[in-house]
């Protein structure tokens, strides 16, 4: 993985596989505190205490095609390389929250990358899920609640080309705004 947004794309797939109906993705860039924090919170089926202990081991996986899973170990490595780390809170039947924090100015910190494409694909390709996306950069904040989009669309699919195009444009514009004069 070369971008933090690719880790997000990957980690959210775990929430989707856990049958989450609501997923909250939050990115907090606090340059003054030299910190970048990413969290993914879902109301999926959750994990037992034992599983939580094991998920950082690459030989733990939910997939059936192979016996290794690299998603969380790769995120953990990327965070630890910058003096950060990850934490996982989970409860069976209630959901999971994964938080990763990074040293903002650390030379090994990966760039956030193309978060607009990442969120577009997550939102449009997983219509059954309601996403809450929050991105803070210093004092500025961009929030997107896909329930508002779905309300406007009244049953028209998020996978329609015109809708996907709008979603990408909306995300791109608002992401750019976050970095202007800051």
């Amino acid at each position: 993985m070369e971008e933090l947004s690719l880790h997000i794309l990957d980690i959210v797939q775990n929430s989707i596989a856990a049958d989450a109906a609501n997923i909250k993705v939050e990115i907090i860039e606090d340059i003054e505190a030299d910190s970048l924090k990413i969290s993914v919170e879902d109301n999926g089926k959750g994990m037992s205490e034992e599983t939580v202990k094991k998920v950082c081991d690459p030989f733990t996986t939910g997939r059936t095609t192979r016996r290794v899973g690299m998603g969380i170990p790769l995120l953990k490595l990327a965070a630890e390389l910058t003096g950060g780390g990850i934490s996982i809170e989970s409860k069976l039947g209630e959901g999971t929250k994964i938080t990763a924090w990074f040293g903002y100015s650390h030379i090994d910190r990966q760039p956030l990358g193309d978060i607009a494409s990442t969120m577009q694909q997550l939102i449009c390709m997983n219509e059954q899920v309601d996403f809450m996306y929050i991105h803070r950069v210093g004092e500025k904040v961009f929030e997107l609640d896909t329930r508002e989009i779905k309300k406007m669309l009244q049953g028209v699919s998020l996978t329609e080309a015109a809708v996907m195009d709008w979603v990408l444009g909306y995300l791109t514009e608002n992401e750019e705004q976050l970095y202007q004069n800051s």
Binding site: M1, L6, L9, D10, Q13, A17, R63, T65, R66, G69, M70, G71, L74, D114, S117, T118, Q121, M125, E148, I149, M152, L153, Q154, V156, T159, E160, A161, A162, V163, M164, D165, W166, G169, Y170, E173
Partner: protein, 122 residues
């Protein structure tokens, strides 16, 4: 700036297209592998390229979807194309450029791009 209100208009326009669309019979599916292996190998820009190219050509009978690990991670990004009445075609080591060619030759002109298929990679 784009606003949520624009969705109203997009919705109305799209609804007209949907009613024009024929029911199901000629539906083509493009499925992109989006597990850790696919994402790390570059599946996201491949998916974007398919979506863009299909939108640009206004191919309303094509849907793009994602799936998990297809099982041959060393050949990621992997894309499967399902056409009604035809066997599934599996493309491997995809790039955005290859995706454009697959849309033009396979989806539009019905000519499989053999050199990108899993058969050619083995």
């Amino acid at each position: 700036m784009k606003s949520l209100a624009e969705l109203q208009e997009i919705r109305n326009r799209t609804l007209n297209n949907i009613t024009l669309r024929k029911e199901g019979a000629d539906e083509i599916r493009v499925v992109v592998g989006m597990a850790t292996c696919g994402i790390a190998a570059g599946a996201r820009p491949v998916m974007s390229a398919f979506v863009e190219e299909i939108a640009k050509r206004n191919l309303s009978n094509v849907t793009v979807a994602q799936t998990g690990c297809i099982g041959v991670c060393r050949l990621e990004p992997i894309v499967e194309i399902m056409m009604p009445g035809e066997e599934k075609v599996t493309y491997v080591k995809m790039t955005p450029e290859k995706a454009k060619r697959v849309v033009a030759e396979h989806i539009v002109n019905k000519q499989i791009v053999s050199e990108y298929t899993i058969g050619a990679a083995n």
